[in-house]
């Protein structure tokens, strides 16, 4: 199938635009000189991924990505940037000076992964914009066959919650401890 045939279907145009936007934002996430800009480009990359999920008829997961990543995780990141007072202006010290071998490694990974997927899947077609998976199906799967992993993940979240509070809490000095006990 030639590239012209591929462009014949309108859904591939959407893919091309969204894919290029994702690639550009991912590139800026790893190269931006400004920490806040890097975090905001991650929003764009994840938003593009959510649009791809909608194209692949995974509606629920797409909105979970918007809600959890863009809504919660990014706010957490911006808090982290502000609390650690990471240099928010233009800064030269954000990257290591040795960039050649990481670049080579990442290009090698890309070549290997795409070669493997071209070898393995060739021209396998995705059912373009099929019936969306209903939330009912997902809910039944989560509380039926996958109920034990579901509970394990909820336990992981609880452990992360308690662990996060414990790690980030400031230890009281002995004088403060006395003061608290006296009250």
């Amino acid at each position: 199938m030639s590239f012209i045939d591929w462009l014949g279907s309108p859904v591939n145009w959407v893919f091309l635009v969204v894919g290029l936007a994702i690639l550009f934002s991912s590139w800026r996430v790893v190269t931006a000189k400004n920490v806040v800009h890097a975090a905001l480009y991650l929003v764009a990359a994840l938003g593009g991924a959510a649009i791809l999920f909608l194209m692949l008829s995974a509606e629920f997961v797409a909105w979970v990505v918007v809600l959890v990543y863009i809504g919660a995780v990014l706010v957490l990141f911006l808090f982290g940037i502000m609390i650690t007072r990471a240099p928010t202006g233009k800064d030269v010290g954000l990257d290591t000076p040795h960039k050649t071998s990481p670049a080579l490694l990442s290009v090698a990974t890309f070549v290997l992964l795409s070669w493997a997927s071209i070898q393995a899947f060739g021209t396998t077609q995705v059912e373009s914009v099929g019936e969306p998976t209903s939330t009912e199906v997902l809910g039944i799967a989560l509380l039926g066959r996958f109920v034990i992993p579901f509970e394990v993940v909820s336990f992981v979240l609880l452990a992360a919650l308690i662990g996060g509070v414990t790690i980030a809490r400031r230890d009281l000095t002995p004088a403060e401890e006395e003061e608290r006990r006296a009250v």
Partner: protein, 101 residues
């Protein structure tokens, strides 16, 4: 739509994540690169699911698990960053050489 167009896009995103992981010095930016790699994995899971069309939507269930674990990872990661910053007054990985041999 070909399956490969999604897989190759995800591969590119994953490789950019690896590059960022190795090049950045600030811990918060390293965590951002990890998020990029996890999002690439999610694209793969959803793409395979829409080809295989399992009756229980297994690929999407796993994507939800990945998202949940990523959220937990960010929470713990930033708590550790906060503690390191409080103790060492720095969030650059190459200045944290206390355990270096």
């Amino acid at each position: 739509m070909l399956l490969n167009q999604f897989l190759i896009l995800a591969a590119a995103m994953f490789s950019l994540g690896i590059y960022g992981l190795l090049v950045r010095r600030n811990i918060v930016l390293i965590l951002l690169s990890v998020e990029l790699m996890l999002a690439a994995v999610n694209i793969n899971l959803i793409a395979f699911e829409s080809v295989l069309r399992s009756p229980e939507a297994i690929g999407q269930v796993f994507a939800i698990f990945v998202i949940t674990v990523a959220a937990a990872e960010v929470g713990i990661g930033l708590a550790i960053v906060l503690m390191i910053f409080r103790n060492r007054k720095s969030a650059n990985v190459d200045e944290l050489d206390l355990m270096r041999w």
